[in-house]
């Protein structure tokens, strides 16, 4: 008996919905959405203390999708969790939709922070974590940042701040799929050694396989036990994970699948057909 069977089913459902959403919208970012399904499935279905019926509950754990272009993976998780109907997913990126191309906290139940301009989410995480400390609340703040995103200067301003203020209620996942729009990180602007960088900024750093539920869960537990430091979980992932022809292709960063490609992707995921 596979003890992660339920999480695996959820992550696969999320992948199916990501492909369907992007196919209908005919725009959006599949690669970096597919790479984060296990991480978001774990956060929303195992870890976070949240209530879909009360999305503004003050004591809830927070999640900030700092790599806002990964909106489809967040919307897939929120719909799966019941923040809104899966029917809504059909309206992604369309006029009057509550599902904007990048997350909008004012329009979408369950979105804790408006993001999309890279780097800013980590600063918002600092503010939320700080507010928790000031109010002596024990909620935790989770975030997902991209590997290309750490090239933004504000990431390092925020990283310095979180360590200086000992914000141990912060757990960040770095979706390390190695690719950004123009190609491999190492060719565009090398970020390595990324773990040493965060360590030297005063963070507790954990390296994991970002598609292994066991490692994700273990890392989250370790972060919760880490006192006096924020935690950075560097999750090695595969961009486009789960759809063979999208895996490890920079070209699938921001391109929607054609009808033919959608059919092939849904075949691989066992996702039936687009309705």
């Amino acid at each position: 008996m596979d003890k992660y069977k339920d999480l695996k089913t959820i992550a696969n459902n999320m992948r199916i919905n990501i492909i369907k959403m992007l196919s209908r919208a005919q725009s959006g970012h599949p690669g970096g959405s597919l790479s984060a399904c296990e991480i978001l499935a774990t956060l929303y279905f195992k870890e976070m203390n949240i209530d879909p019926k009360n999305p503004h509950w003050e004591d809830r754990d927070r999640f900030v999708l700092s790599k806002g272009h990964g909106a489809p993976v967040l919307y897939a998780a929120l719909a799966e969790k019941g923040y809104f109907s899966k029917e809504e997913l059909k309206s992604l990126r369309k006029i009057d939709s509550m599902l904007q191309g990048h997350p909008d906290m004012k329009g979408t139940p369950g979105v804790d922070m408006t993001t999309g301009s890279l780097g800013q989410g980590l600063s918002a995480v600092n503010g939320m974590a700080l507010a928790g400390k000031v109010d002596k609340k024990d909620y935790r703040v989770y975030a997902l940042i991209g590997d290309g995103e750490v090239q933004e200067g504000i990431i390092w301003e925020a990283a310095m701040f979180a360590a200086h203020h000992k914000l141990d209620n912060i757990t960040v996942f770095l979706d390390h799929n190695g690719l950004q729009i123009d190609g491999f990180n190492k060719d565009v602007m090398d970020i390595e050694p990324i773990d040493d960088k965060f360590k030297s900024f005063g963070w507790h750093v954990i390296n994991i396989d970002g598609h292994s539920f066991e490692e994700i869960i273990k890392a989250i537990d370790e972060a919760k036990l880490t006192k006096g430091k924020p935690t950075m979980i560097i999750a090695k992932t595969i961009k486009g994970k789960g759809v063979s022809f999208m895996e490890n292709q920079a070209g699938w960063h921001g391109k929607a699948p054609s009808e033919e490609e959608t059919r092939k992707a849904l075949d691989e995921l066992g996702g039936g057909i687009i309705d």
Binding site: S117, G127, F161, H165
Partner: protein
């Protein structure tokens, strides 16, 4: 002897008082707490004061996160860096989600003086006013500055408050009542209207007195809310006087002069003479002398007022 108070000092005092009244108020600064006067809050409420270091982007981003979690953050730095360096964070993390962040920026305008052009924000009103959801306040003296801070704390949404470094004469009595979105007629007049903001309001009042010696009746309006601008008071002035002179310690592009012109052209077209820096940078020097050099002195306001009357 006129009482002199810098608007930044009034800010510090208001923060200290508000800290007791409202426990949700938190203050952030970017290594300038002594200059922006947030240090007065820090001394009394160290558990609610956070220094982000010299990092204005994270200053605003962190304030956004605090507001998202229910706090009322006041974020401070010099106007140049708070609005310029952090512009896009203000746009995307504060104004777009309409979060309750107050940006109280000091050392605006030429009056910064000796530090020179890199530190003299002359574009801040323009860029802050262009942001949806943003309220832009520019108080004239210490009394008004303090009330602006109180009203900003009460208001739910983003507010930019433009404050100065130098001590400036106190114009208002303690019973003066500031309201967001209301211009105030400080002096009646029927020939020409001078609309001023910030530290230029005092110069407008001096100008009006000098003009009255020449039997010219100048109306003086203090426009301490640049956005939302008080349309009614502008339309009334445009109808009742021969034209409008705007005066601001800011570039003539995009600031008060532009805001007034926008109202005038859409409602009651009339001449508007804009006084401000003429699309140029400042330089080092004594603040008051810089105002003279860059055309912000009383002489130039008199000249432009007469130009309106000669049309």
């Amino acid at each position: 002897m006129t009482n002199m108070i810098a608007t930044r000092d009034a800010y510090g005092e208001a923060l200290r008082e508000l800290g007791t009244i409202n426990k949700d108020i938190v203050v952030l600064d970017a290594d300038l707490s002594g200059s922006t006067k947030t240090i007065t809050f820090k001394k009394e409420f160290p558990e609610r004061f956070f220094n982000v270091g010299i990092a204005e982007q994270n200053l605003i981003g962190t304030a956004a996160g605090l507001a998202a979690a229910g706090k009322i953050p006041f974020a401070s730095s010099f106007a140049m860096f708070a609005t310029g360096r952090a512009f896009e964070i203000i746009r995307n993390s504060v104004c777009y989600p309409n979060l309750n962040v107050k940006i109280a920026a000091t050392h605006a305008g030429l009056m910064v003086g000796e530090d020179g052009a890199t530190h003299q924000a002359l574009e801040d009103i323009s860029i802050m006013r262009s942001l949806p959801n943003m309220v832009v306040l520019s108080p004239a003296d210490g009394v008004e500055a303090k009330q602006c801070i109180y009203k900003a704390a009460e208001y739910d949404g983003p507010v930019y408050i433009r404050l100065g470094r130098s001590k400036v004469p106190v114009i208002f009595d303690e019973d003066y009542k500031f309201e967001i979105g209301k211009g105030v007629e400080l002096k009646e007049g029927k020939d020409v209207t001078i609309i001023a903001t910030g530290v230029m309001v005092e110069k407008a009042l001096i100008t009006a007195d000098k003009l009255s010696e020449e039997n010219i009746s100048a109306r003086v309006i203090n426009m301490s809310t640049i956005k939302p601008i008080d349309k009614n008071i502008i339309i009334k002035a445009a109808k009742e006087t021969k034209g409008i002179v705007t005066v601001e310690e800011h570039n003539i592009i995009g600031g008060l002069g532009s805001a007034v012109s926008e109202v005038v052209v859409e409602n009651v077209p009339t001449y508007v003479e804009k006084i401000g820096t003429m699309d140029t940078f400042g330089e080092s020097g004594n603040g008051n002398k810089l105002l003279e050099k860059y055309g912000l002195g009383v002489e130039n306001i008199i000249k432009k007022s007469k130009k309106i009357l000669s049309r």
